[in-house]
Symmetry: C2
Subunit: 138 residues, 2 copies
DNA sequence: GTAATGTGTTTGATTACTCAAACATTGAGC
DNA sequence: GCTCAATGTTTGAGTAATCAAACACATTAC
């Protein structure tokens, strides 16, 4: 079997396994891994605010998926809807104080789990791996 | 942000993107990426046959997910159900001739797409990356 | 200005999964 | 041989995401 194909399959398998495990860990904070990624994207953006379509790309969902994901998150106050005066089509999403709080807590357990998941790798290897993934366009 | 946490997120992002793209490519053959992975697991196993629970682990699904995934595949003749005389609880799944055919065709387009997805990496890097992922337990 | 086209978001219908509980069968201990 | 716990699979109910179509607003060209 072609090594690049094998690589792609391997990558996928690894990620499937880890995201399932992370999902379980994060459920302690009442959020899914996908929701964490939303908070992460928002927390890491300029004003903690992003257009929904931009968010969709960052968390690898369709715009439709983003809408459905954000609805409950907004309802429980993790994110809030803003509007862009310049263009009434775009609907901006911002991280709310409660969201930042959860994000902080969830990040701690995520880091914990990431340590476990990568404990077979040395510091050097983590760096190398990260570099290679970046080269792949992540 | 902690490098290992970043790594885990990066890994996940990359895999989400690629699997969506692969899913689309494989739809030409009428199967999903998950279904491909089932065929792959079966084709690569001893007699082309595996117990459902073993299959579940290999494709990173719950046993329940496997049942629901295989039902339609069996109906269209990609896989077939066998039974294990030694233990009537286990339900063996085997790849069927039509399944091998599709697997072969789908593998070709998967390889094609894998080339595209990894074209930024040299041969050496592919090998290194694969090694690092293996070290992670893939 | 108004029509036509393009862009961003939401909705309706469907599919793919998950969890927890039910089933079916096996193997151990008595 | 009969319970009882353990193992493998399926089912019922619910969640998460998808696609395609609808919607809302913007922009361009006339």
């Amino acid at each position: 079997m072609d090594p690049r194909t094998a690589l792609v399959l391997q990558l996928n398998q690894l990620s499937s396994r880890s995201s399932r495990s992370l999902d379980h860990s994060l459920s302690l904070h009442g959020i899914s891994f996908t929701e964490y990624r939303v908070l992460h994207a928002l927390a890491g953006s300029a004003q903690g605010v992003l257009p929904r379509s931009e968010l969709a790309e960052r968390v690898c969902l369709t715009p439709s998926g983003v809408t459905r994901l954000l609805n409950p998150m907004e309802k429980i106050g993790l994110v809030e809807k803003h509007s862009q005066p310049r263009d009434a089509r775009v609907s901006l999403v911002g991280i709310a104080p409660a969201g930042r709080e959860i994000y902080k807590d969830a990040s701690a357990t995520l880091t914990q789990r990431s340590m476990d998941l990568t404990h077979t790798l040395g510091e050097r290897q983590v760096k190398d791996l990260s570099g290679l993934l970046s080269a792949l366009g992540a």
